[in-house]
């Protein structure tokens, strides 16, 4: 059962209502994929960033509200506060538990360019939206949504979460895993099945393209902002001019007000871009990095199997237990591959929808912008010709 959530435009969730799509296009999208009845039974919002100051550090927590009808949850409503570190922990646990599933990406830790202070309002808001997306993607994932750590993340009180975090493999063993992973992943690449070679090629190319699109989109936003800044000055000059022209006062003032209205329309277009397109494209930039990690993990699992097979073939180590081990590893590889294959299809489908929607929204914003400007100038023109006709009829005896 797949529910394709379209929640890029969700912002203020002051009312505890289920996620309502806010753009008509997103509604169409939801209808398209609701062949099955809506089985959504887990609703999550991330809001209310708060700053906490201690002697050691300053950090932000976000409020997370969960509403659910699932039996395995003790209650139907939960409210907790989490900080970025907690999200990182959750992501790590999910990757550990499901190494070849495509875990949704987290927003970056820092943004290097243009960061004056760590916690300016825009940064926090962008991060909040991305964290909201992150949790909802997990909730919509057929497998991840039932993950135990995910449940604890959503429901546990602060102290409960801390103590839970302390369980599980320690830092050193996790580091050891990473080292082994790097060493063996190369071997996995050599024996990679054809379909995963294709997948890898796609991921590499996709990553290139989405990164470019991300840069282009950011650049467009920047140019639009600069255009807006200049336009703001343009209208008022006409008002200034009208002060020294008796016969052109009305025309000049009208031109000034047209320019100002187009200015406002530009502002709206900009904000549409920054809400509909930029976060979506950026999320897929992060996704593309995730995917490469997933491929590596898959390769590593395969490498484990291959090294044992090699050992058996060349009688390197104690061969009594090997066949059993190999059997287990073969199962592991098959599971991992199947999990990835299924998730890959799902991810691709989601990606296509999300990209399509984001760009369609962008086109819609532009159409709306030009329509507004057109109406403004057309009404100016009509008023000028009407005036002219009035004057002409006045001149007639």
């Amino acid at each position: 059962m797949e529910v394709f959530s379209k929640d890029a435009s969700l912002m203020d969730m002051n009312s505890f209502s289920p996620m309502m799509p806010t753009s008509p296009l997103s509604m169409i999208n939801q209808i398209k994929f609701e062949d099955e009845p809506d089985l959504k039974d887990l609703f999550i919002t991330v809001d209310e960033p708060e700053s906490h100051v201690t002697t050691i550090e300053t950090f932000i927590t976000y409020r997370i509200i969960t509403k659910t009808s699932r039996g395995e949850f003790d209650s139907s409503e939960f409210e907790v506060r989490r900080r970025y570190q907690d999200f990182l922990w959750l992501k790590g646990k999910l990757e550990e538990a499901h190494p070849t599933l495509i875990i949704p990406p987290l927003p970056e830790k820092f943004i290097v360019k243009g960061m004056v202070e760590r916690f300016n309002d825009d940064f926090i808001e962008t991060r909040r939206k991305a964290l909201h997306k992150f949790l909802n993607r997990i909730a919509d994932h057929p497998t991840l949504t039932f993950n135990e750590d995910f449940k604890i993340f959503l429901t546990a009180q602060a102290w409960e979460l801390s103590s839970h975090k302390k369980q599980g493999p320690g830092l050193l063993s996790r580091m050891g895993q990473t080292v082994r992973a790097v060493a063996s992943s190369m071997r996995g690449v050599k024996n990679r099945p054809e379909e995963f070679m294709e997948m890898n090629n796609f991921i590499e190319l996709f990553s290139q393209k989405i990164n470019l699109i991300d840069k282009i989109s950011q650049r467009i936003y920047k140019e639009e902002r600069e255009y807006f800044d200049e336009m703001k000055e343009y209208g008022p000059i006409h008002i200034l001019w009208s002060a020294s022209e008796e016969d052109l006062v009305d025309t000049l003032k009208d031109v000034a007000s047209c320019i100002d209205r187009c200015c406002k329309a530009t502002e709206k277009r900009m904000s549409g871009l920054s809400e509909a397109l930029l976060p979506v494209v950026h999320e897929y930039v992060l996704y593309s990095e995730m995917l490469m990690g997933v491929m590596k993990r898959r390769d590593q699992i395969q490498a484990e199997l291959d090294s044992k097979v090699e050992a058996l073939t060349y009688k390197k180590a104690d061969t009594d237990l090997l066949p059993e081990e190999i059997g287990k590893l073969e199962d592991k590889v098959e599971c991992a591959n199947n999990a990835l294959k299924a998730d890959w299809e799902r991810w691709k489908q989601n990606m296509q929808n999300d990209i399509k929607l984001a760009f369609t929204d962008m086109a819609e914003e532009n159409i709306h912008y030009y329509e507004q400007c057109l109406a403004t100038w057309e009404s100016f023109l009509t008023s000028q010709t009407n005036l002219h006709l009035e004057e002409a009829s006045e001149d007639k005896p």
């Binding site: 470019l212 282009i216 159409i367 030009y370 057109l374 023109l381």
Partner: protein, 364 residues
Amino acid sequence: MYETCVVLFLFRSVEHTDGQSVLTDSLWRRYSEFELLRSYLLVYYPHIVVPPLPEKRAEFVWHKLSADNMDPDFVERRRIGLENFLLRIASHPILCRDKIFYLFLTQVFFFYLADSRLKALNATFRVKNPDKRFTDLKHYSDELQSVISHLLRVRARVADRLYGVYKVHGNYGRVFSEWSAIEKEMGDGLQSAGHHMDVYASSIDDILEDEEHYADQLKEYLFYAEALRAVCRKHELMQYDLEMAAQDLASKKQQCEELATGTVRTFSLKGMTTKLFGQETPEQREARIKVLEEQINEGEQQLKSKNLEGREFVKNAWADIERFKEQKNRDLKEALISYAVMQISMCKKGIQVWTNAKECFSKM
């Protein structure tokens, strides 16, 4: 180093008094010859608001526009400006009859005007009783010049930014096309959407070129402000001349009176030397009075004619200024309306391109 020559193809039918019409051939004129024609007109028609020339050097340039005087676009716009200049003169009720103008259009010659009054036009004079209308006009022309230059500067910056917005969208085209190669289902939609992004990006070139014509219309009036100021200066010059002549006459009359009555109130060199070197004889005094009386007579004649000249000038100048005002109001209104028309065309193009793009996106 040669300036680019502007070729004029003026097929002008000129009717002589005997009813014959003459068609002129094309001939070559360079920018500096236009400048000479204008200087001549300024001098010989001081009360007329003489149409301005297009800019000598490219100003108010936004970054993609060339500041090079040899740039073909600039040359073309200058050609249009020069043609406009000549048409304005040709449609002016008084200027069109000027012989030199006719010669400019028909004769290949180089004329040199060494008129000291040309230089005098640039001098400033302190006038005691300026005509308020001319002072107001001067202020107006200052305001006009300043507001139009400001507007042109900001417009150039806005054009620059708009160029940026459109052109960056072109990058989408390339990336979409590359991306479409690896996508099975989305491929076609991406590819065609990319094509529309290219169309969008390249549409800005024509849009901004049209806007340059609008900018040129405004520039003409920027330069007209200078022409207005020239008329005001001429008035000032005449007024100053008049005041100086009146002052001179008054002082001579005073001198004469003093000589006749024997009282010395006004300073004169003769008076001074008389004091130092002795009284002059009655015959000498009579002679001086006679000279002064002659000068006074002459002065009164001159003052009368200067007054007349002054009044004629004001009457004619003001008539032309009224004509100019109406022309300006018509032209500027038309320009502003044409600006609106350009914006409308740009919006319609934008709607079309993005509607096409949206269709492609939704088919992905």
